[in-house]
Amino acid sequence: MAKGPTPAELANIDYTPPQTEWMDTPTVIKTGTFCWGAKAKNLNIVEFPNARDWNPSEEDWKLPENWQEIFLKGMKDLLGKYRSFKVFMDICVRCGACADKCHFFIGSGDPKNMPVLRAELLRSVYRNDFTMAGKILGKLAGGRKLTLPVLKEIWYYLYQCTECRRCSLFCPYGIDTAEITMMGRELMNLLGLNTDWISGPVANCYMKGNHLGLEPHAIMNSIEGMIDDIETITGIRINPSFNRKGAEILFVTPSGDLFADPGTYTAMGYMMLFHELGLDYTWSTYASEGGNFGFFTSNEMAKRLNSKIYAEAKRLGVKYIIGGECGHMWRVLTQYMDTWNGPADFLEVPVSPITGTRFENAKSTKMIHVTEFTADLIKNNKLKLDPSRNNGLNVTYHDSCNTARGMGLLDEPRYIIKNVCNTFHEMPENTIREQTFCCGSGTGLNASENMELRMRGGLPRANAVKFVKEQYGVNTLANICAIDRATLSASMEYWVPGTRVTGVHELVANALIMKGEKERETDLRGDPLPGKEGN
């Protein structure tokens, strides 16, 4: 973080709430904790309403005349469409069990970042306009009018929630503030109140197939570069195919892996593994994004972006799909894709061509996670591995929120890591598996202008890494998420410098003994392998 508070300053967190009641405590939109507003041109590409250039830090948000009406009508609509929203608006007892479970509250001490209060910001409007008690008793019943400061406050805190669902794990009624945030952001999008960091990738993904806006040849160039690196390291030239009809498998991964370190090492890992297996697979430049920033805007937008995956699988005539390492991508693929764009009856139930394992757990979506695929290979002894090549790495594993609490993919990646690395230590139990902490920058909050917020939200995760670093000398943080690879790199640099952030398939490829490879001198990053430092 170039400017802004130092780690020591940031760690000075006060959990005492203000003297004034929360409804009477005005919200100030603070530099470093919000993202820039969406640009009109990006919203126009995807035909979103009320597109305009706007700046959250300015007084005038250039709202449409009848914004209250739009918001409340939208709310009514969503209450009718989602039982979750309706029930969650009604049954919170404010027990506070969720209060200190949110990484943003833990890192900021701002009471409005307690999940319960984040939800109450919107719930108070709900009570005022949609419940009898609220209509009659108003503030006494916990209701408040939707005024401009209220709207701004709701907006501000909706974009300080990464939809990680950690709160929902602890709530006795399963109230999921992530769901409420999704509804809230959907409402904000009716008013054009999106952020630049989300709407840009959405527009890119819609037109060009991926968040980064990589055009077909750019994708190929990027992969070409990785192939050269792989050749340098292993002496093997691999030859992946693109948009190839008749391949058995379509492979889709977040585009972040194609673009920036350390994600690229993970992408190299996939390619080396698939090459070694002789897998009949293809990349697609049209469906070149596994992630889905549409999911952070509206249900409809998410569906529009997601549709490309099945459409492309159908066009290419593949049998099934393998998905790469990504977090929210897998929440979408697990809990939404089939419902939106299925049934995928043109595909077959995934069967590993190497082991013959039938993936019954994905028999409807026909899409498996690459760590499921690889764990099965290792279990069946299909890979030759030399874990000692990872000996310099003392590894711990970060569960992504979405693969943990929106899927339950917990042991597969661990099984892989333990087979490709010799040293592995878990972080404290209240910070892993289903209780995992967010990286602090999910749901499109991984911009640079809100770095203070990100570092605050990243504190609980980083602090757990620091713990295992001090206890066991851990120096490597493995994960299965493209956003993690970027955002944890930043939060590690800030909180726990000297920690390497890596995808699981980077570790796999380091350990993988490939047929006909030359004696490896370096790992995928070009760093000398243990024992080869002198060369």
């Binding site: 709430p17 009718g80 008690a133 697990t334 609490r405 929106g406």
Partner: protein
């Protein structure tokens, strides 16, 4: 204000009943009309609320998975916290409703210099919540002795267990003590923990004070200012058999108790107390986590405008050809 007001409201309710019965002699209103109205509002209100919730569909399968998924036979699935079958969901819901599974996970976050964050286990809320709800239920069930001509054996057993310690005359019920202690703790917790106090609304204090009022009047009746118990049973039996009677000499305190209960019933369907019904409808808990295996259907799924492959190829055909990518149209 948000604490005082609900407190005063409950005190006012007590005085209202006292004045209504003790002074204005409105026995019939407080002993018959209001209880009937309250029960009717409770039943219809409860059903109505459930119906309204049920009317909104569940478009997506959104269970919060709280353990290992079902994947390979050699990886142990957590069948209760990440259930993939109906049986598993029933188990998960039973744990949630009967034992407050999620609350049992509760931790307390602490930040020390360093910074060092820790998350110690925090079971007080769980214990108090469980103690409160269970003792409330048992007390409720115990009251059935007033609704039935002959007291069934099960009820006698419950009463026996509840007065296990055999102290006092009449025998002290454990649940009476536990209920008052738990509610007091829950009130105290809201007042003593700054963040919980910060999020609390009048609607959070009111039911606690009201239930405390009900418990105290009940206890007074049983242990201190005895009421005419045969008369109480007569009145209640009259209500149950739809031939209401107002026996003489029951004692005002009974009417206060009954009025507070009526208020609770009236208040229930329009308040957060509906969490009792709502928890059964919570999609993050009551759905199997099998959406990759079985397709979940959204009743309002509608076609959307997508950017097709054809349009994409039209945008990039030349670049694709130059890069050696296959194209559909030359």
């Amino acid at each position: 204000m948000k604490i005082l007001l609900p407190f005063v409201a409950v005190i006012a309710l007590v005085f209202l009943a006292y004045a209504g019965v003790g002074v204005a002699k409105l026995h019939f209103l407080f002993g018959v009309v209001l209880p009937y109205a309250a029960i009717a509002v409770f039943i219809f209100g409860f059903i109505y609320r459930m119906f309204i919730w049920g009317k909104s569909p569940v478009p997506f399968s959104i269970p919060t998975t709280a353990g290992q998924q079902k994947s390979f036979p050699w990886i142990k699935q957590n069948k209760l916290d990440n259930p993939s079958s109906t049986l598993g969901v029933i188990g998960r819901m039973a744990l949630e409703v009967l034992l407050f599974r999620s609350l049992f996970r509760n931790t307390k976050t602490e930040l020390r210099d360093g910074p060092v964050l820790s998350y110690g286990s925090e079971k007080f809320l769980w214990a108090a919540g469980l103690a409160f709800h269970w003792s409330f239920l048992i007390i409720f069930v115990r009251h059935f002795r007033f609704f039935m001509q002959d007291v069934p054996v099960v009820l006698q057993m419950i009463e026996g267990a509840d007065s296990f310690f055999q102290v006092g005359a009449p025998l002290l019920y454990l649940t009476d003590v536990v209920l008052v202690a738990a509610v007091t703790f829950l009130v105290f917790r809201r007042l003593a923990m700054p963040l919980i106090k910060y999020i609390s609304l009048p609607a959070d204090y009111f039911p606690l004070f009201l239930i405390l009022g009900i418990a105290i009047t009940g206890i007074l009746m049983r242990y201190v200012t005895k009421v005419h118990i045969v008369g109480v049973k007569e009145l209640v039996m009259g209500l149950v058999s739809f031939s209401p009677v107002i026996p003489d000499g029951i004692g005002v305190i009974f009417y206060i108790h009954l009025f507070l209960v009526s208020t609770l019933l009236l208040y229930f369907p329009m308040s957060k107390l509906m969490h009792f019904g709502g928890v059964f409808l919570s999609p993050t808990r009551n759905m199997p986590a099998n959406s990759r295996e079985v397709r979940h259907v959204n009743p309002w799924n509608y076609p959307v405008h997508v950017h097709t492959y054809e349009e994409y190829e039209n945008d990039f055909r030349d670049k694709m050809k130059k890069a050696g990518l296959p194209v559909e149209k030359e």
